[in-house]
């Protein structure tokens, strides 16, 4: 949370009246309200908290003895572990969303064993740490009452199952519907967009298609809850969770089968030039020693790993769902504690949105980063997207004071490919034009050629 909210509740923490987050003197606190006391005590005393924290599934916290932001309501004040960079479900690749879904269900099953249940199933309660999902809301648990259905069922299907099914069965790009529908994809919409064959998948048939139709029938008054009807037994609830787990596991998406093959761009490189680029990136990192780095156009994260391997908190951003998918799978396998691959289109980066534009932060608001990589990127922005070089420089200076940026000249095969089917309306696109455009914003600290490719690598520092 980089935006200052001194003395106020966090702008994304207002829905639940059981407690809230706030920041004071740069420290993030969570106030637990008295209304939630019994549930909180059960979470701590049942052994569930210890179990989930030791598994790395739930964020750890320390109990503090201080009055809280609204002392009249306060039962406890907690200081949760800090997450360096908050990411949102519309910035996750398929497997990140799938892993987050399974983590939510596993936590629900664990909670039931300890006499508790999850009162919500929001994808925004999950963050990624060391390549695995982590529940960050310690107030999501309430005491389980026999007969009680799962309150979070609808939310789970909207936040997780519907987007996963649409990405796996219709089109990977439909994951971006989450950016518009902040409380998850409406089930009737998902049901309409899914191909007919998904009716044959028992899990999707029940939890999405039938679910949407139940909502429609109740909404139109054609079915009612039927007073006096028995609730859901504990076994029934366990069966529901098991069925959701099986359904989520049955969904898959392979990057290689898609049209998204941008990550092959590396293979066109001359290996000697790449090695030189690696060396330049390494000396940039070793001399600058940034605390954090954003790799813009990170592809599958080859250069991001130079930073994360040096202990730099690294965000690898790419607009290609296939590249982010491959990057995440590798990060998950190596459990890299410093790397977070995310899906982000720089031509239209994540906006500030939600209530009062403050619930979900834009990319810029989550900065600044200690340093930026912009390797093999500028030609895509300047030529494919017609952004003038000066505007690129202005945008980058808002993201970080230090920049390692590659300039790819017009005669480069990659640029020639972009120009093959369009008019060359870029007379200023050249080394001189590039340096002139960046000059008002950045000072060139160093300039190195990349082999004999004609490409140039600049270390730039923002002018203060």
């Amino acid at each position: 949370m980089s935006r200052t909210n001194e003395g106020r509740g966090h702008p994304a923490s207002f829905r639940d009246r059981d407690g809230f987050l706030y920041e004071r003197d740069g420290v993030l606190y969570r106030q637990v309200n008295r209304a939630y006391a019994a549930h909180y005590d059960l979470l701590m005393q049942s052994g569930l908290y210890d179990r989930l924290v030791s598994e790395g599934a739930l964020i750890a916290h320390r109990e503090l003895s201080q009055p809280g932001l609204v002392p009249d309501l306060a039962y406890k004040v907690l200081e949760p572990d800090r997450i360096g960079f908050i990411s949102y479900p519309y910035e996750w690749c398929f497997s990140q969303l799938k892993d987050a879904a399974l983590a939510t269900l596993d936590t629900m099953a664990d909670a039931l064993e300890h006499g508790l249940t999850l009162k919500d199933a929001s994808a925004y309660n999950i963050q990624f740490r060391s390549g695995r999902p982590l529940l960050i809301d310690s107030l999501s648990f309430i005491k389980y009452e026999e007969g009680q259905p799962w309150i979070g069922y609808r939310q789970f299907c909207q936040h997780f199952l519907a987007p996963l099914a649409l990405m796996a069965c219709t089109d990977i790009r439909l994951g971006q519907l989450l950016r518009v529908h902040l409380d998850g994809i409406p089930l009737d919409l998902a049901s309409r967009l899914l191909p007919w064959r998904t009716h044959l998948n028992p899990g999707l048939q029940v939890h999405l298609h039938l679910h949407a139709s139940a909502q429609r029938r109740v909404g139109s008054g054609r079915a009612s809850l039927g007073r006096g009807r028995k609730g859901v037994s504990r076994l029934g609830l366990r069966g529901l969770i098991d069925s959701l787990q099986r359904t989520v596991r049955s969904l898959s998406w392979e990057a290689g089968r898609s049209d998204w093959a941008g990550y092959s761009e590396f293979h066109n490189y001359d290996e000697a030039a790449t090695q030189q680029k690696v060396k330049a990136a390494e000396s940039f990192l070793d001399e600058l020693r940034p605390a954090s780095l954003w790799d813009l156009g990170a592809n599958t994260g080859r250069f991001s790993r130079l930073a994360s391997g040096r202990g730099v908190a690294t965000i690898a951003l790419d607009f290609d769902p296939g590249a982010v998918e491959l990057n995440y799978r590798q990060t998950r396998q190596t459990q890299d504690p410093n790397l977070l691959p995310l899906l982000l289109d720089l031509r239209n980066p994540s906006p500030s949105q939600g209530w009062a534009h403050q619930e979900r932060q834009s990319l810029v608001e989550r900065g600044p980063a200690g340093a930026l990589f912009a390797l093999a990127l500028v030609h895509h922005l300047a030529i494919s997207n017609n952004v003038p070089l000066g505007m690129i420089a202005e945008f980058l200076t808002g993201l970080s004071p230090s920049l390692l940026i590659e300039f790819v000249p017009k005669q480069d095969p990659q640029v020639q490919r972009l120009l093959a089917s369009r008019a060359d309306i870029f007379p200023d696109y050249g080394v001189d034009g590039f340096e002139t455009a960046f000059n008002p914003y950045f000072e060139i600290h160093r300039r190195d050629p990349v082999g004999d490719s004609g490409r140039l690598l600049y270390w730039m520092e923002a002018r203060s």
Partner: protein, 55 residues
């Protein structure tokens, strides 16, 4: 059936669906657990018989 009070609206349709399907899903879940126990039991029997043969 009492409806739990929560900050989140669970949605009436979602509630109704759970009432309708939970019984069947619970039974399936129980069957699966028993079936895996039977399989494990048989595997152990077969394993023991094999061990005895090997001796």
């Amino acid at each position: 059936m009492s409806r739990p009070l929560s900050y989140l609206d669970p949605g009436s349709g979602s509630y109704l669906l759970q009432l309708l399907i939970a019984g069947a899903l619970g039974a399936l879940f129980a069957l699966r657990i028993y079936w895996s126990r039977i399989k494990r039991f048989i595997a152990r029997l077969v394993g023991r018989a094999k061990d005895e043969q090997d001796e």
